[in-house]
């Protein structure tokens, strides 16, 4: 039986995403309805993934449609990019890294350490989490398009 992630675990990731977009891109992003699902059928073209370990195990991903990814990266690096290249891939990995790094500061008691980012490039791919933990999906609305935050989190620490 998969355990569910708790609200107190997901909130730091939602807040970190809002803060990161606000400070790095001057963009206001709005979280939508949070859902708990093994698979959503939500398909992305570009995803940044960071593994979490330490006193908790998990992963955090930010998944984008291509158009949104290009616009978000343009805002992030302050330069208009129109094609998917290594710079876009690096920026998406860096964005996931910043969000995970900021979120772990609000999860001090879990003493989380974060992995290197991995970026998945591929039209219409789908991300799935671990069997034992039901991941939480948070849709975000931004003026540049929508993206999803996906968090899996498991800890023995109460």
């Amino acid at each position: 039986m998969a355990v569910s992630i708790k609200v107190e675990h997901i909130n730091p990731f939602i807040l970190a995403t809002i803060e990161t977009f606000k400070t790095m891109m001057k963009l206001e992003v709005k979280p939508g309805k949070v859902t708990l699902e093994r698979r959503t059928g939500f398909q992305s073209d570009l995803s940044g993934i960071i593994g979490l370990s330490g006193g908790a195990k998990g992963s955090v991903s930010m998944t984008f449609p291509k158009i949104t990814a290009l616009k978000v990266v343009s805002a992030f690096i302050g330069e208009k990019v129109v094609t998917m290249d290594d710079g876009v891939v690096d920026a998406i990995g860096e964005l996931a890294n910043i969000v995970a790094g900021a979120a772990k500061k609000d999860l001090v008691k879990y003493n989380i350490s974060i992995s290197l980012p991995t970026v998945v490039v591929g039209d219409n791919h789908e991300l799935s989490g671990a069997k034992e933990v039901t991941p939480m999906y948070v849709p975000f609305e931004t003026p540049l398009g929508n993206f999803n935050l996906v968090v899996s989190f498991k800890s023995e620490i109460a």
């Binding site: 593994g51 992963s59 350490s113 992995s115 899996s152």
Partner: protein, 159 residues
Amino acid sequence: MAFIAVKAEHVNPFVTSTMETFSKMVGTEAKPGKISLKKNAVLNYDVSGIIGLSGGAKGVVSLCFPKASALRITNKFMGANHSDFNPETVDAIGELANIVAGNAKKGLTEFNIQISLPSVVMGANHQIMEPKDVLTFIVPFTTEFGEFHMCVSLKSGTP
């Protein structure tokens, strides 16, 4: 924390672990090919299991499959007979990546590695991209059920 440079030999525990995992858990031999640096190679896969590594070193390990070998390998692993991807296949890929990373860290005690939960990517012809400033090693494996790749990126902790 002592600074330890990451070298090709640090990939060996992952290679050994993959061979053992396939032999013990899947029940088939996985033969490693030549280890190389991934550099700018464009490699497309259909399903990939990804595990983040952190602790005294940061990194990521992935097992990346074409669809046909992913189905045949996971069917053998689970004793199933699926003809297309389903949630069980996805779980099996995540579980294989988890076992490989979990066993490999025992051979890398100098890094005191901790592993994350697995993420599984499904999607025809996707690419897995690791950070450019870190060496990523790629090891092709052949099995009687088809081929797959294991990729390892590792960067030691700050000195």
